[in-house]
Amino acid sequence: MKKLYKKFLIYKAILKGMSPDIISQKFNISRNVIYKIKKEGFLRIKEKEKLVLDYFQKNPFSSVNEISRNLNFSKSFVYRTLRKYNIFNFKQPNKKILKILEFLIRKNDFENLKNFINYYNIDLDSEILNFENVPFEIKYIELSQKLNSGVDISYELENYLSELKELNFIYLKALVIKFDVLILKKQYKEIIEIFENLKKN
């Protein structure tokens, strides 16, 4: 995340119109890196890494061994990639992360916002950010925030879950919100049923 924040600062400096010379002196990096960031943005995910992450997103119950076997990558690479993108533990939002999020929202850069939240697995349960025109993949965050502010989201949530259909990683994240709704409605048996079904799968 340190590297990412540094890249973010460089990207901001480029957008402000600072010359590559000054940026390279200030951040102690080569000009090639600056050109790369300028061309590809600060949130670049390598192709190999993307393969691992996409595989995991579609098969959230798979283990490191399974991923490495199916994609033919070494275990250590898969492990490192998953760790880098906070798959094992969601990243708690600190000041740096919030700055990046604010920047992306201000710029209406939803593509990167989606990538940032989904690929970097940031835990936004307690953070209240105003999302407008939220991309489908991060709608669960909007729903979670609505629930925290006391809005009844059960109908909206059911629609969202039925649209997601597959048992992918995002579906599981949205399921956590469903559990909260069910607990508020005191429908505990339904939660137990969902878990029993998940176990069977």
Binding site: S62, F88, N89, L175, L182, I183, I192
Partner: protein
């Protein structure tokens, strides 16, 4: 699933649902799984998980463990202390909580005042509930009637039956089954959790078992309420130091008079006292019956009793 954070969230919800559905056996298997991943979680996740574990133990009835896990959750801590009978600690505590949580806090304080014998302060504290913003009477209706039932029973007013009936009428099956069992003596809904066992043992007359469970899991308030609503014999209860403060609610020992016997006597605290000088003896009995002598503080070798024994 290799995503620990998501796993933790799932386990939290599952554990919560299991404890509220009273499926504690399944809950303990989940708890074992949670312990395996606990160390690998982030600080925030650990705190959150502790809350759910504490709630699980609270619903199960192990208040000592629930208290251990509630270090960072003031309201849970207060509720655990209340169940463990640490009333003074609750009264002396000072937490800034808002909304419904504040209501629960005030509710615990007012009941604590009541159970230490300060009924006036208790009702004064409970009135503060009406000053809390965003609280509707519908939200607190159950706890209001529970408080009133305990309050009236405590001050010895039979109105408590009316409040309890009203509570059943308004809420029906949703009444806390333990409170229902304590007041109504109906144990048909109880299962096998420590709280349930304690109530069952108490009603069956196995006080030693009930006290043992109360001591082991820290379930003191339920035991106190049981003594309050269904007092047992003073002789049975006085053995246990744990319920010393609630002995005043136990059944007063009876004086049995056997005046038509060849050698008339009366029985008090399982001891026979022969009545040789009927005049003095009758005065003593009258004194005891009219409670001019405090029965509980009657020393073993009272002057009058000594006198009677000497006569014998």
């Amino acid at each position: 699933m290799i995503c620990l954070s998501l796993k933790a969230k799932f386990y939290n919800s599952y554990l919560n649902a299991l404890s509220l559905e009273e499926e504690f056996e399944k809950g303990f298997t989940i708890l074992r799984k949670i312990k395996r991943i606990y160390k690998k979680l982030t600080k925030k996740e650990k705190l959150n998980m502790e809350r759910f574990i504490s709630v699980f133990y609270y619903n199960y009835g192990n208040y000592k463990k629930a208290y251990d896990f509630s270090k960072n959750h003031p309201l849970l801590r207060i509720l655990c202390l209340y169940q463990m009978g640490e009333y003074l600690k609750i009264i002396n505590s000072d937490y800034n909580i808002l909304g419904f949580e504040k209501f629960l806090y005030i509710y615990a304080i007012s009941l604590s005042f009541l159970l230490i014998g300060e009924s006036v302060k208790s009702i004064e504290t409970f009135i503060k509930v009406y000053n809390i913003e965003d609280i509707k009477f519908e939200d607190i209706i159950e706890l209001y009637y529970v408080f009133m039932t305990i309050y009236y029973k405590f001050i010895g007013d039979d109105n408590y039956i009316g409040f309890f009936k009203k509570l059943i009428q308004l809420i029906g099956n949703r009444v806390d089954k333990h409170f229902y069992a304590i007041v109504s003596k109906d144990i048909s809904n109880l299962k096998n959790s420590p709280k349930d066992k304690l109530i069952k043992y108490y009603f069956k007359g196995r006080i030693n078992k009930a006290v043992e469970i109360a001591e082991r899991y820290g379930i003191k308030t339920i035991l106190n309420l049981l003594i309050l609503f269904h007092p047992k014999n003073y002789m049975k209860l006085k053995k246990y130091k744990q319920i010393e403060k609630f002995l005043k609610f136990s059944k007063k020992p009876r004086i049995k008079l056997y005046l038509l016997r060849k050698r008339p006597y009366f029985k008090f605290l399982n001891k026979k006292f022969y009545l040789k000088d009927k005049g003095i003896s009758i005065i003593i009995i009258e004194l005891l019956v009219n409670s001019r002598i405090k029965l509980f503080k009657l020393p073993k070798k009272d002057v009058y009793l000594d006198f009677l024994e000497a006569e014998f």
